[in-house]
């Protein structure tokens, strides 16, 4: 497999720029005449930039909007507002042929290796489908050869091209999904919890594969996961989401060593550490209560209902995700400070 056309492009330049994307799912009532009575604010003003060749990790608990964000970027959902600039075009405004062209540059690896592959198609058909949809991506005669190359690239036996998905284990199926995402030689791959359905020993194999592919093809990843250890391992930069907003974003070091947002700090402290020695030294922040409903988020700072630092101002004034005095990376907290006891 030859390197994608992007090899001449500059590593580190901005490849995707997401600006204030919002997705509200309407809640309607009534049987015949539906009227909107509210909205689930799944993603509520998210902005970030993705640079060529980097991995941007997105972490957060269930319901924080990280998966909706992935579906928005892949245009599986239509955003309420916002922009996403890819190749100089607004991804959210594109349609028809232009959208199809943009899609070639951005693909996704999905979470569940059992439902993401059509059970009635052979592996060859699954990985070859991108070429049928985009006939100019590979000439008809060479497609099968290309599929076998892709199988080889992701570490599967090219002879298994005629098998069906159920004949593979979870980790192997995830490799098939990765091969399908690679087929059109995209520059960006959105990974939505790509390893959380896999066993521990298989997780490591898939993570290593993703890292190798990144080096080989100069890919940029948006890596969405709830497992902070995995995200730290693979990411260059990390965004932490809470209730539809990015509360803190920075380099892997800034987030894991010098987090200034209380939510990030709590999240990090709660990660189970297997080492019994370290466990006892750790100072775990126990958050109380549940995440509020995204249909009715708290005023001001959304984290204030569970935050031990919350004061009057947190209820009235929404903190912006901007650089703070404590550390120069953006953090959405009025009282941002590095936690002294942290790791």
């Amino acid at each position: 497999m030859t390197a994608p056309a992007s090899s001449t492009k500059v590593r580190g330049e901005t490849i995707l720029s997401v600006d204030n994307v919002v997705k509200h799912f309407p809640i309607s009532q009534g049987v015949l005449f539906k009227k909107q009575v509210g909205a689930v604010k799944a993603v509520d003003g998210v902005s970030f930039e993705l640079r060529r060749g980097e991995t941007l990790g997105v972490v957060g608990e269930s319901g924080c909007g990280k998966s909706t964000l992935a579906r928005l970027l892949m245009r599986l959902e239509t955003p309420t507002s916002g922009r996403a600039i890819l190749e100089g075009r607004d991804l959210f405004k594109a349609s028809g042929a232009e959208l199809r062209r943009l899609r070639r540059n951005m693909q996704m690896v999905m979470q569940d290796p059992y439902t993401s592959l059509n059970p009635r198609m052979t592996v060859g058909d699954i990985i070859g489908e991108p070429f049928e949809i985009h006939p100019d991506a590979a000439p008809r005669g060479s497609r099968r050869k290309r599929v076998q190359e892709l199988l080889d690239v992701v570490g599967l036996n090219p002879e298994h091209i005629n098998r069906y998905p159920h004949q593979f284990s979870g980790g192997q199926r995830q490799r098939i999904g990765i091969a399908r995402a690679l087929a059109l030689r995209p520059e960006i791959i959105v990974c939505d919890e790509p390893v959380s359905a896999l066993d521990v020993s298989i997780q490591a194999q898939v993570i290593n594969l993703l890292e190798q592919l990144q080096d080989e093809f100069g890919l940029s990843y948006i890596f969405i996961a709830h497992d902070l250890s995995v995200v730290r391992h693979i990411s260059d930069r990390v965004a932490v989401m809470y209730l539809g907003k990015i509360v803190e974003i920075g380099t892997e070091d800034e987030i894991y060593e010098r987090a200034t947002h209380p939510y990030t700090q709590a999240l990090l402290s709660a990660v189970p550490v297997p080492d019994p020695e370290v466990r006892h030294e750790r100072n775990i922040i126990r958050l109380t209560g549940d995440v509020p409903s995204p249909a009715d988020p708290p005023s001001g700072c959304r984290f204030r209902t569970r935050c031990w630092k919350a004061q009057e101002v947190c209820a009235t004034e929404e903190p912006l995700t901007v650089a703070r005095a404590a550390d120069p990376h953006p953090s959405a907290c009025h009282f941002a400070e590095v936690r002294p006891a942290a790791a």
């Binding site: 579906r71 892949m74 245009r75 599986l76 959208l99 199809r100 899609r103 070639r104 693909q107 996704m108 999905m110 979470q111 569940d112 439902t115 993401s116 592959l117 059509n118 059970p119 009635r120 198609m121 052979t122 060859g124 058909d125 489908e129 991108p130 049928e132 949809i133 985009h134 099968r144 050869k145 076998q148 080889d152 992701v154 570490g155 599967l156 036996n157 090219p158 002879e159 298994h160 091209i161 005629n162 069906y164 159920h166 004949q167 593979f168 284990s169 979870g170 980790g171 192997q172 490799r175 999904g177 399908r180 059109l184 490591a204 194999q205 290593n208 594969l209 190798q212």
Partner: protein, 317 residues
């Protein structure tokens, strides 16, 4: 339980790109002949005895419908009252019915009308149900709202009443026009259950991740419906349709009994079963023989449908 299932199918093919993995699978494999789902299904069917048994039965019945003369030398219309309920003799291996007609010959000649009605009604039903169910399930929204209400309305029409109204218009038509009319009425009134089944399995299939994956690759609605949703939502429809086939043959009998279905000189199992039922006390063979033909035919179609459905499910292979 789930613990076990996840590994049961695993091949011990090592992850070759892992750092500790072995050098890896050889890459000198030539380009293999592509395989399709239909091709694999056929390879599977060839080894299934149920498929062959049902196929033979269906072939025999079909042959009977096309060239009944191959199966009996007697004329089913040659009825002599003096042979009323007489026992077997000559070619009449099952004896004679109330009218003195050859029971076996009538069953053989009856296969044509019954099979035509059953198979064609089921076919048209299937086509209508697939189109309506697919559109309603896939597009949802107002398309679904409208189509679902249409289904409800058609379902609410009493079959017999509507059949009387519709078939009244062709009461004086010739035998062929009558058969066409009966097929038309059964298909138009009978597709609703299958359409609902298709709709719900389409809705299930369309939520699957692989449909999202296809959309992300840029696949259009047509490809998604044809390649991804249809193959994964056909199974329940096949079951419903094979059962419907039997129901349609029986429904034809009811219509004939009411005098609005097929009529002499057209011979059908439905009419004969009905006549046989009336004269059951005097002799039961004229009832049993066409009923057995009907039962065997329906069974053959159901078995065939089952075998085909299973063959198209790679997981059962």
């Amino acid at each position: 339980m789930s613990d076990f299932e996840t590994v049961a199918s695993s091949e011990n093919q090592a992850a070759r790109r892992g750092p500790s993995g072995e050098p890896g699978a050889p890459n000198q494999v030539g380009v293999q002949k592509p395989r399709s789902l239909a091709g694999d299904a056929w390879r599977d069917l060839r080894r299934n005895p149920i498929f062959w048994i049902s196929l033979v039965l269906v072939t025999v019945v079909t042959l009977m419908a096309i060239v009944p003369g191959l199966f009996t030398a007697n004329d089913p219309q040659d009825c002599v009252l003096s042979r009323q309920n007489a026992g077997p003799s000559g070619g009449a291996i099952f004896g004679y019915d109330f009218q003195g007609c050859d029971t076996y010959a009538r069953a053989v000649y009856g296969s044509r009308a019954s099979l035509l009605v059953g198979a064609l009604s089921a076919l048209f039903t299937g086509v209508i149900a697939l189109v309506v169910g697919m559109l309603a399930g896939y597009f949802g929204g107002w398309v679904d709202a409208v189509l679902s209400r249409v289904i409800d309305i058609v379902l609410g029409i009493p079959l017999l009443l509507a059949a009387i109204v519709l078939l009244k218009r062709v009461s004086t038509a010739g035998p062929n026009a009558r058969i066409t009319a009966v097929i038309f009425v059964l298909a138009v009134l009978g597709w609703t259950t299958a359409a609902r089944v298709v709709r719900s399995s389409v809705i299930t299939a369309k939520e699957q991740d692989y449909v999202a994956a296809a959309r992300m690759l840029g696949a259009g609605n047509g490809r998604i419906m044809w390649r991804h949703i249809l193959p994964n939502s056909l199974a329940p429809a096949i079951v419903v349709l094979t059962i419907a086939l039997g129901t349609f043959i029986a429904a034809e009998a009811t219509l004939s009994f009411l005098g609005i279905g097929l009529k002499a000189p057209t011979i059908s199992w439905g009419q004969d079963i009905d006549t046989g039922r009336i004269h059951m006390r005097e002799s039961s063979t004229p009832l049993i023989v066409p009923s057995a033909f009907l039962a065997l035919t329906v069974l053959a179609f159901i078995m065939l449908g089952d075998a085909i459905r299973d063959a198209f499910d790679p997981k059962l292979r």
